[in-house]
């Protein structure tokens, strides 16, 4: 059965003549423990789908379900424990005046955990940061370390689903490799389900098993990674995307 199920989702912003339809009739399903990638250019609505699941886009209709629980305008407390999001820019997503310890302990206490101290040590260990990072502030960390803290924060309430919004696009390729390895390790360790947004097909291809290609708010094609690698696509836009990302890779 599917962990994330979306049927005929519409998301819009503004009203009347100012209304912009960001997502139009999107449907997708991610099985438990699976990884699904959303690709498309900026403005195609891929991040908006994540935000709609999270409850950050208030105006939507259609049907969304996460592990069998239908989502309404209000989400339950267990939903917010079960589903967590990692944002694109590690520089902007951490509070500049909260230390790593504050970031993690706040999340943990909000979710009602008692053994906060041991959990923080465990979380930092999980994302490959030692205990020496515990009392640092974001400006004392590099981009890759910050993204690790953001991932630790997302892992704190022991979620089952992680929504990843371009988790490596602000990082160097060498650091990107570390974070991608970390994400695959964590998925196996904690049996997580990933829904990932990226414009980099190679990154999505590395993490995910299925992808959906979006253009102008609509999912134009859903295909497996093997189909994508073999260029078995139906839609011209997918072909165009693949060609532009394979162009560089072929030469290397």
């Amino acid at each position: 059965m599917s962990e994330i199920l979306i049927e005929d989702l519409n998301v819009w912003f503004g009203e009347y003549e100012e209304r912009v339809d960001a997502v139009k009739g999107a449907s997708l399903s991610v099985s438990k423990g699976g990884s699904f990638g959303l690709v498309g250019e900026s403005g195609s609505g891929k991040s908006t789908i994540l935000r709609a699941i999270m409850g950050l886009a208030p105006t939507w209709d259609g049907r969304m379900e996460v592990s069998g629980e239908p989502l309404g305008p209000k989400r339950s407390r267990t939903f917010y424990r079960k589903v967590q999001m990692v944002f694109q820019d590690p520089y902007a997503s951490l509070h500049p005046r909260h230390s790593v310890d504050q970031v993690l302990s706040e999340t943990l206490s909000l979710h009602g955990f008692k053994d906060i101290d041991t959990r923080i040590t465990k979380l930092l260990d999980d994302v490959g940061l030692g205990p020496s990072f515990r009392f640092r502030y974001p400006h004392q960390l590099s981009g890759g370390q910050r993204q690790r803290v953001a991932i630790a924060r997302a892992l704190a309430p022991e979620p089952e689903v992680l929504l990843l919004d371009e988790p490596t696009s602000a990082l160097d390729v060498s650091v990107q490799a570390e974070i991608l390895n970390l994400l695959t390790d964590l998925r196996d360790e904690h049996s997580l389900t990933y829904l990932m947004v990226s414009h980099d097909l190679a990154v999505v291809g590395h993490i995910c098993s299925d992808i959906a290609v979006m253009q102008l708010g609509e999912i134009v094609e859903t295909l497996t990674i093997d189909d994508m690698r073999a260029m078995r696509t139906q839609h011209s836009y997918t072909k165009h995307l693949l060609e532009s990302s394979l162009l560089g890779a072929k030469l290397a």
């Binding site: 981009g143 160097d172 390729v173 060498s174 390895n181 414009h199 165009h240 532009s244």
Partner: protein, 283 residues
């Protein structure tokens, strides 16, 4: 062959509380009418090299070099006033993000004609005609309409093309492009690069292309310098990138996920402190 640009032993230093920080440490290269790529991670000094050439490093930062010549004439000894004649007219630079490099309260067309009128003595109407021509050259549909738009009204890819138009209109000899496409989508990226490539080729300019994207650089440039910790660790012909000898270059190449060659784990770059101490390779 006469070189457009000759650089020998270029250093960029910044005094900090903990002593002097060397951002660029003894970089040497020369540029002809070709496309030279500079690749490296953030903090490797690639952007600083580009800025040092245009003398855009402000005090307390210091730039020293044994030689920094534009067509055989020294750049370091020139006054600020003389430098203003160089910037734009002879060497121009495209910055990373059009959102921060265009004046938000000035119509884009005016910005382009201003760039032209600063270097060429022409009438306003002539400048406008030339600007619209330039907008057409960077594949903007309906240039008359775009001429009167403000930067917030154009998309990222369009903004970057406007920047390219602005930088090319004084007909410089060298263009430095500092991550010109990293703020753009993959599909728009190729389009912008193609336009840049065509214009650079047609005008016989020298191009310095700064990027962190190895694949992009190898498909787009003739020659590549790989920088690490302020030094050039390796220099290669772009089509020979996969024959790289230096462990840093190999590490960078191997850390990329590949669409055509999937693997379970990506190789993580193991840094060797000795890389930073090796002498800089000249190119």
């Amino acid at each position: 062959m006469s070189n457009l640009l000759d650089i020998e032993n270029l250093w960029v230093k910044f005094p900090t509380r903990n002593g002097i920080f060397d951002a660029v440490r003894g970089v040497s290269f020369s540029l002809g009418k070709e496309r030279l790529g500079i690749v490296g991670e953030s903090g490797s000094g690639k952007s600083m090299t580009g800025r040092a050439i245009l003398r855009l490093i402000r005090s307390p930062g210091m730039v020293t070099a044994d030689k920094l010549d534009l067509e055989g004439v020294d750049l370091l000894g020139r006054s600020e006033k003389e430098m203003r004649g160089v910037r734009g007219k002879q060497i121009s630079m495209i910055m990373q993000d059009p959102k921060f490099s265009l004046n938000p309260v000035m119509r884009v067309g005016q910005q382009i004609s201003e760039a032209y009128r600063l270097h060429a003595k022409v009438s306003k109407s002539e400048a406008k005609r030339k600007s619209i021509e330039m907008l057409e050259a960077v594949a903007i549909r309906d240039p008359e309409r775009v001429y009167n738009m403000y930067p917030h009204e154009v998309s990222g890819g369009m903004g970057q093309r406007i920047m390219i138009a602005m930088m090319l209109i004084p007909d410089p000899k060298i263009m430095i492009a500092d991550e010109p496409t990293s703020a753009l989508d993959v599909s728009v990226q190729m389009q912008v690069l193609e336009i840049m490539d065509k214009l650079v080729k047609d005008r016989g300019m020298g191009l310095i292309f700064i990027s962190h994207d190895l694949n992009l650089v190898s498909s787009f440039c003739d020659r590549v310098l790989i920088m690490y910790a302020g030094r050039v660790v390796e220099t290669l012909a772009a089509d020979k990138l996969h024959e790289a000898q230096h462990p840093y270059t190999q590490g960078l190449l191997n850390s990329l996920p590949r669409l055509d060659a999937p693997k379970d784990r990506l190789q993580v770059l193991q840094r060797d402190p000795a890389w930073a101490d090796e002498p800089s390779v000249s190119a």
